[in-house]
């Protein structure tokens, strides 16, 4: 199958317009990040506490927020996640005294998390606990095993495992009828109804990062990115020419800037997995750039005497079907992640969707023009010869 005959599009004719467009986007992005919205740093970078909870009955953001309001935490960010209507993500935002010590801050955040959980639970289960019942939606394996083993010697571990693996699959047990079909003996079920109760929510995860570690993670992420960029610059400069390396790194900076700009517009938070996403975009973009550069390198031998701009245009055209097929395939993959990948991957997939399109654009309209301009300004003689 052939996508199309090798076209003869004059890509580089529009290089000035493209560079102007890029400049506008970047300026807008930098302004947005510095002056307006700013980048929203996630928990990973030392900004508070993140809780994921699941409720027994379906609920909504408004209800949860009003519960939080009663303890003065109405400003927390509440987000519904997943498609069960019972899962929520809560970002606690309460100004923590910046003068407090590291430990105090971490503890303040942890207390914040406790406070939130307490507020959401309300007086749920107080009466039951007073009667010595345990919450089947929160109990840990040891305790449950001990409880069941005490009543049914020999079959405690097995029954506890069954109950917990059910709970791990569904997140929460909504009613005792849920666990009637998982192979528990009737007397165990009766015992559970007698000795346990079902709390109204489970905490799926809670993450707190203290400011010192947050700063550390931030620094290391930046350091790792910069070093890997330098590594690429050196390799490309060795395999091609110095200006190609410069162009590649320029392109990558733009990739990061533009994707971060779009990302910041959507109010999503930056966490470590997102850094992995940015690096992935960088990876695809460098791949794209090198494929084109490789073709340019080859065509320079075949098209001796032609100006570099013409060689580049020809190369871009020759590689066009490959560019479209590859980027299309990647786009397909990432779209699958975006739609089916689940909440944790969703932010990452979104970033990738933006990045795949942007990566192709930046190869054509940034890496090639940068090489062209470099040769024009710094090596006028060489440029004419070629």
């Amino acid at each position: 199958m052939q996508l199309f005959k090798t076209p003869h599009l004059q890509f580089l004719k529009y290089k000035y317009i493209a560079l102007a467009a890029t400049a506008v986007i970047i300026v807008a992005g930098v302004l947005n990040v510095t002056a307006f919205k700013g980048l929203k740093l996630g928990v990973d970078f030392g900004e508070g506490t993140l809780l994921r909870i699941m409720t027994r009955a379906s609920s909504n953001e408004g209800d949860i927020r009003s519960l939080l309001q009663t303890v003065g935490l109405g400003k927390s960010v509440v987000q519904k996640t997943g498609d069960t209507g019972r899962e929520f993500q809560i970002r606690a935002v309460e100004a923590v005294n910046t003068k407090a010590t590291e430990q105090d801050q971490l503890e303040a955040h942890e207390k914040l998390a406790d406070k939130i959980i307490q507020a959401l639970r309300g007086d749920d289960g107080t009466a039951e606990r007073a009667r010595g019942l345990v919450d089947l939606n929160a109990v840990d394996e040891r305790t449950l095993t001990g409880l069941l083993e005490g009543a049914f010697p020999g079959s405690g571990p097995d029954a506890a495992l069954k109950i917990l693996s059910y709970r791990n699959q569904t997140g929460i047990i909504t009613g005792y009828q849920d666990i009637s079909g998982i192979g528990l003996k009737p007397e165990v079920q009766t015992f559970l109804k007698d000795k346990t109760y079902l709390g109204k929510l489970t905490v799926m995860s809670r993450e707190t990062v203290g400011p010192q570690v947050g700063a550390d993670l931030r620094r290391k992420a930046v350091q790792a990115t910069i070093w890997s960029l330098i590594g690429m610059l050196v390799y490309i400069a060795l395999r091609f020419r110095f200006e190609y390396g410069v162009a590649a790194v320029f392109t990558l900076f733009q990739d990061v800037l533009i994707t971060m700009t779009v990302y910041s517009f959507t109010n999503r938070e930056i966490n470590l997995p997102i850094i992995a996403g940015v690096l992935t975009i960088v990876g695809f973009s460098i791949n794209d750039t090198i494929v084109i550069f490789d073709r340019v390198r080859e065509n320079q031998k075949l098209m001796r005497g032609k100006p570099l701009e013409e060689v580049m245009n020809a190369s871009l055209n020759q590689c066009l079907s490959r560019t479209i097929i590859t980027s299309g395939t990647v786009f397909l993959t990432v779209a699958a992640l975006f739609f089916f990948g689940g909440e944790v991957i969703n932010d990452f997939a979104f970033l990738m969707l933006v990045g795949t399109i942007e990566g192709v654009y930046s190869t054509i309209y940034l890496s090639c023009p940068v090489v062209l301009f470099w040769q024009k300004w710094f090596k006028p003689a060489a440029a004419r010869r070629r």
Binding site: L106, N168, W227, S228, L279, V334, F340
Partner: protein, 514 residues
Amino acid sequence: MKKNLQWKVILVLAVVAGALFLAYPFNDAKIKRGLDLKGGIHLVLQVITDDSINIETDQEIARLEELLKKNTITFQKVTKEGLGRIAVQGVLADEEGKTRDMLEEYARDWDFGFSGDRANLTLKPLVAQFLRDQSVSQARETIDNRINTFGVAEPLIQRQGSDKIVVELPGVDDPERVKELIKVTAVLEWKLVKAGPAPDEATLLQATNGQVPDDAEVLKGDPKRGQSGFYLVDKVATVTGKDLRTIRQTTDEWSNPAVTFTLNPDGGARFEQVTGANIGKQIAIILDKRIQSAPVVEDRILRTQGGVIRGRFTPQEAEDLVVVLKAGALPAGIRYLEERTIGPALGADSIRQGLAAGLVAIAAVMIFMIVFYKLSGINAVVALLLNVLILFGALAYFKAALTLPGIAGIILAIGMAVDANVLIFERIKEEAALGKGVMSSITQGFSRAFTAIFDSNLTTIISAIFLFQFGTGPIRGYAVTLTISLVANLFTAVFVSHLLFDLTVRKTAKVLSI
């Protein structure tokens, strides 16, 4: 089959067999999942290394006082001037030389100088460094012991940097308990009670005119143990946790959870003597400076007899106390810098959804390749599958954990694997369009496309290596899967795919299904 094809086929089959051997049956035992996918606790804690310097300073003060007395040197007092700094005050001028000699000989870890009637001692920087370092390794060991005694499968307890320790406990579902278990210093002491309990310090010290006697200290009861008052106790402990020989969880005569202990001969003798001399008085059991209980000594406790620690424990608390006492005390305090608890349900969710999405994506890519490149597309699909197989084999071999960012790395690698095939196939088409024969188009296509594939893969591998070197946890997970897949890619997309063409395309073929 040609000779050189033969060894190529054998090589590929050997790689397949090796990867299968390492990764099969692709379960938890073979492919480790990271905490984000499996659930568990991730803690970063900092050892307060100043504590070790403080302890050393206190011990040195006690030692100096003893030494000065032994050498009959007149002095006013020995005081703590700060972290690793001591002053001996009121040394007579004509005894300065004698003091110097003594310090020279017995306080080798300390630098000292005189100013007037004061000798100022400072802990040598190298010694301080050693003490700090040692306290971190000891803390790591102690935590390791505690976690192992507590019983967690595959814990990871690692030093990070100069004073940090990373603790990763997969599958643990009770973070509060574990955090407490790690954090308690677990210094256990038995001390005679002089007075108390009293509701506040003023009442407690009424008998001594508001002064704390030199040989005593004021301690608070542990509210968790139902002890709320203040006690005045001996400064010197009768016995400590170091004197314990055995320790076991039990229930007392009212079947409440409790902990029994026996003492080593030395401690047992002291215990026997002190209890014998103080019948009718209270003896406080103190954990980390908090009084757990203060039972009345009813009889002389024989050295082999041991005793019981009570204090309204829950069964869990009694169990945890046994764990920390068995594992030993921490040499310094710790504080938490980072705490993450991922519930097993969330991890399972991520895996399920991530896996589903990944499978959909790979299936879509494969269908596309076959529809677009027909029979040649099958080559690409085989190469892709082999790449994933090699990745899992390598993950199993290196015991590297699969994490969410790791999956991102796999996506990039799959994208680049597809790209390698696309590059080659498009090149073959170009060569064919120039009128070359099938076999020569294939050879030319592969060799022309190779430089682009090689350069792009190697560039990304280089960047991944830097990321691994300088990055932290999640970023490393990403770098690992990416590097492995890309190295595999150079093998599968180029070598294996080419071999498949060689094996399937007849020499005389006029058209290629591409």
